[in-house]
């Protein structure tokens, strides 16, 4: 700001820090429709990071996003340089719908402090708060360059000055903040203050068992030397008798389940039913349901559960460990197992094996059993397993369990150690509230809760884990769902584990307050990315920029070592982001997601704000990918005008409209490069014959423009053989021009199916074709005029490319006579180029992205036939020259014909016309 003061004083404005916004060249997003940004790097701020230089094309422009905090008037100035001598480039500064224009003066130089001047453009009105895009658009560039750009200054002015911020234009800050890479910063904003049911003083409720009695009271088992069970009437105060001691003398109870009205407590070594036989409210009998499983005296041999399913108790047995958590060997039999206990005789069957310390068992409504195992040896991170008969989950000891010879069944959910969870506890499925259908669980290491959504793909369970809330008094060890999605948390801190909280025990109830909140509701794995669901609509314009997301994936390798690092960690590119019309869902197109991986989808901290102005509470989704869903593509959409984008200094967009549409709408099902996907690949699609079914009739078609267009507009009309009819309806979402753009892109994916290519096939050779360009060098080409260099011509992407600042003409070294000439060409946005023959009277053929002037000879009127050209998309050209007559076709459409004097053999010339142009597949056959 201090550096700007002299500049501001030049403008004669009073300087108020909060009303000045300096949009620097370094933070600009450089949009390059000419393709120069990525083709040559000329239009970039990287050469001198202080200003944009080498800005020569009127199809390139810098862009910023900004936030109008308070509507009002703003004064606009540009800090620029120009060493062209006379300057003269005309430009517009557009902010939203407002615009001011100016002409670049000559400043006497491009670089150096004295070269830059402040050009005051005047004032404009910014009528509404919210995100806007600011752009400097060249209107006319009469000389070499537009300008050297240093700053776009916006100054709030007048009696109602606008207040602006550039926060959204900066690159996202990915530092961990609460809820984003680290635990949440407190109680979830949708929850009311927890109701603390913990008795003051005594008893000290270190809760290891929790369930609801038929009369509505809670049964609570406590973990202490003389384990007790309390019946808790939450409607009473402690003085009124909220806590009633029902039983005591249980051996380190680790779980409690009310079955058929009776409290069942899982002690460390037995399953016990508590009976009040005389109705006096006290337990007079502790009936041993089972103690059939082997135990030793090791203090870690806990048992977890129980669950009750189909007349059987389900109990998990933990293994004996050393003080540092390593499995002791040998173990007694059937440790680390899930047991199915028959109450009638106490006998058990081993349901599954291969676990370590399963402090959390749960059934879903369908009766599927899940258990939460803790990180340690053979458990690289804490994980949730779906328990099926005969499953082995990977934890090993000596002597090996009989099930250990089976293939390891991976978890449904992995919880990255420390990053997300340390010692997860008992989950509970919610049947009500904002997160209905999800699983909530606690963690012994912190006083809060986590969430998870589970799904089945191809019969295999997997899911996503999300952060939920902090702010409890102690770690939640046992959970019970209350009415309306409320959660009763029985709390316990282990003396050997780090825990954050005010105490090591307790009983708290959290309920939804009814206040709105903005959070990730869930995230779903799709065939080609993720769909994130929000609890409130996202503010308009947010979320469209892929830079607002980071996706990483990794795997784990279970070993005998304690825990395990992330392996093969890699970042995945977010190719596109789209927001649903109701702004409640974010679709991310992500390629490269692999099965057997944990994928973290992270949202940029501070970027996501709801329609109601609330900041996003959590921004991480940890997916466990066991099976990639098929035929479930992410919805795609084109970003609307005004979408907020992060800056990407030094990068541009060099993407054609057709390719942009492809990325947004098609890339989830169709590949451009032959990669097999749900739909047919676009690679070499044109010109091929395929069988399709139309109206139930199978027949063969030739893929051409008409067929592709019909496939887009009438997706169900022709069903390609070998593919499912999954093509969505697009007609209502695309304009006619966009359809043509898309068809053009599809066509550009078919170089071999088109008429030209750099390399000739044997068939081509038999037909007499001769290649004029080998795709890798200018061999066979030289300056059109002897003694003059062919400036600006290079080989890029197997194409002869002009992308320089100096004019140049390139000609074949071989003179061509009568015959047929074919090539592919591509032009920048608004660009024009020409081809012709050196010397003589044969006019040049013009190539442009304007169908009216493309494919005509210079000086001739516009063609009536539209060749439907697109900028930055490969087009086809065909010239047949016989005697004094030349006929031209562009993309198969005859566009021009010329008759005149036969000029004989002449070199073929490529002329740049000062616009970037690309040629490939140049070939000739004599006639």
């Amino acid at each position: 700001m201090r550096a700007l003061v002299p500049l501001l004083l030049c403008l004669g404005v009073s300087v108020r820090a909060q009303s000045v916004l300096d949009l620097t060249a370094e933070t600009a997003r450089l949009v390059s429709l000419s393709g120069l940004a990525t083709a040559s790097g000329d239009f970039a701020a990287t050469g001198d990071a202080r200003f944009v230089q080498g800005w020569t094309s009127r199809f390139d422009y810098p862009s910023w996003t900004l936030q109008v905090l308070r509507p009002g008037r703003v004064r606009v100035a540009v800090v620029l340089s120009n060493g062209d001598g006379a300057g003269g480039a005309e430009f517009a500064v557009r902010i939203g719908a407002s615009e001011l224009t100016g002409t670049v003066p000559s400043t006497g130089g491009w670089r150096g402090r004295k070269a830059f001047r402040v050009l005051d453009l005047g004032e404009m009105e910014l009528p509404a708060a919210g995100p806007l895009r600011a752009e400097i658009i060249p209107l006319r560039v009469p000389r070499l360059s537009v300008m050297g750009l240093k700053d776009l200054l916006l100054l709030g002015t007048g009696p109602a000055p606008a207040e602006l911020a550039a926060g959204e234009s900066a690159a996202p800050a990915w530092a961990d903040t609460p809820g984003f890479g680290k635990p949440t910063g407190g109680l979830h904003p949708g929850l009311a203050a927890p109701e603390d049911l913990t008795p003051p003083g005594s008893p000290r409720l270190r809760v290891t068992g929790l369930d609801r009695m038929p009369d509505g009271r809670f049964a609570v088992a406590t973990w202490d030397a003389v384990g007790s069970v309390y019946l808790v009437d939450a409607s009473k105060t402690p003085e009124e008798g909220r806590f009633h001691l029902f039983a005591t003398g249980l051996a380190e109870p680790t779980g409690l389940k009310v079955v058929e009205g009776a409290v069942h407590v899982l002690e460390r070594q037995r399953l016990t039913r508590l009976e009040d036989r005389d109705g006096d409210g006290l337990c007079e009998a502790q009936v041993c349901v089972s103690q059939a499983w082997p135990v030793s005296s090791h203090p870690d041999e806990n048992a977890f559960g129980p669950l009750w399913r189909e007349g059987r108790f389900l109990v998990a047995t933990g293994v004996a460990m050393t003080p540092v958590g390593v499995t002791k060997n040998p173990q007694v039999r059937d440790r680390g197992c899930v047991l199915s206990i028959k109450p009638a005789d106490g006998s058990y069957e081993v349901l599954a094996a291969g676990n370590r310390s399963q402090n959390g068992l749960v059934l879903n409504d369908a009766g599927d059993m899940f258990l939460m195992d803790n990180q340690g040896d053979w458990m690289p991170c804490s994980s949730l397993f779906h328990v099926t008969p005969g499953a082995f989950f990977g934890h090993r000891y000596d002597p090996p369990h009989p099930l250990a010879s089976r293939p390891v069944k991976g978890p449904a959910l992995r919880l990255p150690h420390v990053e997300l969870s340390v010692s997860p506890t008992q989950p509970v499925f919610l049947h009500d509230g904002p997160f209905r259908g999800q699983m909530v669980f606690g963690d012994i290491s912190f006083s809060g809760l986590l969430r998870a959504s589970l799904e089945q793909v191809d019969g295999v369970w997997q899911g996503v884990a999300l952060r939920f809330s902090s702010g409890l008094q102690a770690p939640a060890n046992r959970l019970l769902e209350g009415p309306a999605g409320a959660i009763l948390a029985g709390e316990l801190a282990m003396p050997t584990l780090p825990a954050s909280g005010r105490r090591d025990h307790g009983l708290e109830r959290v309920a939804w307050s009814g206040r709105p909140f903005f959070d990730l509701r869930t995230s779903r794995l799709m065939s080609d990315g993720f769909e994130l669901e929000l609890t409130e609509p996202l503010a308009a314009g947010l979320g469209w920029d892929p830079a607002a997301y980071q996706v990483t994936q990794w795997t784990y390798l279970p070993t005998a070592e304690y825990g395990g690092p992330k392996l093969e960690e890699e970042s995945l590119a977010v190719e596109a982001a789209a927001i649903s019309p109701d702004r409640l869902r974010i679709s991310l197109a992500v390629k490269g997601v692999r099965e057997g991986r944990v994928v973290r989808v992270a949202l940029a901290p501070g970027h996501f704000v709801s329609e109601g102005g609330r900041a996003l509470w959590t921004g991480d989704a940890y997916h466990t990918v066991n099976r990639l869903p098929r035929a479930l593509p992410v919805p795609r959409a084109v970003p609307p005008a005004g979408s907020r984008m992060f800056s990407r200094p030094g990068t541009g967009l060099a993407v054609s409209p057709g390719e942009s549409l492809f990325r947004s709408l098609c890339a989830s099902c169709h590949s451009p490069d032959g990669t097999p996907m749900v739909g047919p690949t676009f690679h070499n699609l044109f010109g091929k014959r395929h069988f399709v079914t139309t109206g139930g009739v199978r027949h063969e078609i030739l893929v051409d423009e008409a067929f592709v267009k019909r496939s887009i507009l009438q997706p169900g009309a022709d069903i390609a053989e070998g593919f499912q009819p999954l093509m969505p309806e697009l007609a209502s979402r695309l304009s006619a021009g966009q359809v043509d753009s898309l068809v053009g892109f599809v066509r550009s994916c078919s170089p071999a199916g088109g008429l030209s290519r750099n390399l000739l096939t044997e068939k081509d050779k038999r037909e007499g074709w001769v290649s004029l360009f080998d795709g890798t060098s200018r061999r066979g080409w030289g300056p059109a005029l002897p003694g003059r260099a062919a400036m600006g011509w290079t080989i890029r992407g197997e194409a002869l490319t002009w992308a320089g600042n100096a004019a140049g003409e390139l000609a074949t070294e071989t003179a061509l006579g009568d015959g047929e000439l074919e090539f592919e060409w591509k032009i920048s946005v608004g660009g024009i180029a020409a081809v012709g023959f050196a010397g003589g009277s044969h006019p040049d053929l013009l190539l442009s992205d304007n169908p009216a002037t493309c494919g005509i000879f210079r000086g001739q009127p516009a063609s009536a036939a539209s060749p439907k050209t697109e900028p930055l998309v490969w087009q086809r050209a065909n010239l047949v020259r016989l005697g004094g007559r030349t006929e031209v076709r562009i993309n198969g459409v005859k566009t021009a014909e010329w008759s005149g004097q036969d000029v004989g053999k002449q070199p073929f010339v490529l002329r740049d016309e000062s616009h970037p142009v690309w040629f490939r597949g140049l070939r000739f056959r004599a006639r």
């Binding site: 003389v226 051996a251 380190e252 502790q286 103690q291 005296s297 282990m494």
Partner: protein, 226 residues
């Protein structure tokens, strides 16, 4: 009642206890579940499941006047019988003092215990034993309940055992309420010479060093002082 030194019990006291072992709860001051023995100064209930160092499935029952008995519920045997004026069990482990390898031990010196293997026999074979828990009668007496099966599982006998009781004449009694007997076959091995044992009442008889149950009913076993 003898008051053996907890560190160095007298031979007389040892003999009394081993000879007698207990029963019938009449006259004993039983504690309700949840009651605390203020004299013990600790949180040990009258009946308490405990994982002891060499007996992971112990059920410790506090008797009167500082006497304790620990049943090994896995094998249906008495693991230890001891006197301790304090809480009777020294707790150590994560649950109490945060020691991850700590083990609970009886506090005091065991005066008597039965062999490690199950003392219950069916004929000459081990009887199948199943612990069924414990219950407290209206009179406050605690009974340890177990089920014993013949090896062929055709006969199932329920045996409720009341822990030791010192009777007025100085002998120790131990009683068993037996139900389900259809024929003889169930027996309980007794430690020490059979000559010191006697069946005071009920359907049972002594054979060698075993108590043979002969039918349903309450068997009172007694060991008189020498």
């Amino acid at each position: 009642m003898p008051r053996p030194n907890s560190r160095n019990p007298s031979p007389i006291a040892f003999a009394v206890v081993t000879a007698g072992l207990v029963v019938v709860a009449v006259g004993v001051r039983w504690l309700r579940p949840g009651d605390r023995d203020s004299s013990a100064g600790a949180m040990l209930p009258a009946v308490c499941g405990v994982a002891l160092d060499t007996c992971p499935r112990a059920l410790v029952i506090r008797l009167n006047d500082g006497w304790h008995v620990a049943y090994d519920t896995e094998n249906g045997r008495i693991h230890a019988f001891w006197h301790q004026a304090g809480p009777g069990v020294s707790f150590s482990g994560l649950v109490t003092d945060g020691q991850s390898e700590g083990l609970n031990r009886i506090s005091g010196v065991p005066l008597w215990s039965e062999p490690r293997e199950s003392p219950w026999k069916w004929g000459t074979s081990p009887a199948r034993h199943r612990h069924l828990g414990w219950e407290q009668a209206k009179d406050g007496g605690v009974r340890v309940v177990r089920e014993l099966q013949s090896p062929d599982r055709q006969t199932v006998v329920r045996v409720e055992e009341a822990p030791a009781r010192e009777v007025a004449d100085g002998a120790w009694e131990r009683s068993f309420v037996v139900a389900g007997m259809v024929s003889e076959g169930l027996s309980l091995d007794l430690p020490g010479p059979s000559s010191v044992w006697s069946v005071r009442s009920g359907p049972g008889r002594l054979e060698s060093a075993s108590l043979v149950f002969t039918g349903d009913g309450t068997v009172v076993l007694s060991r008189r002082l020498p």
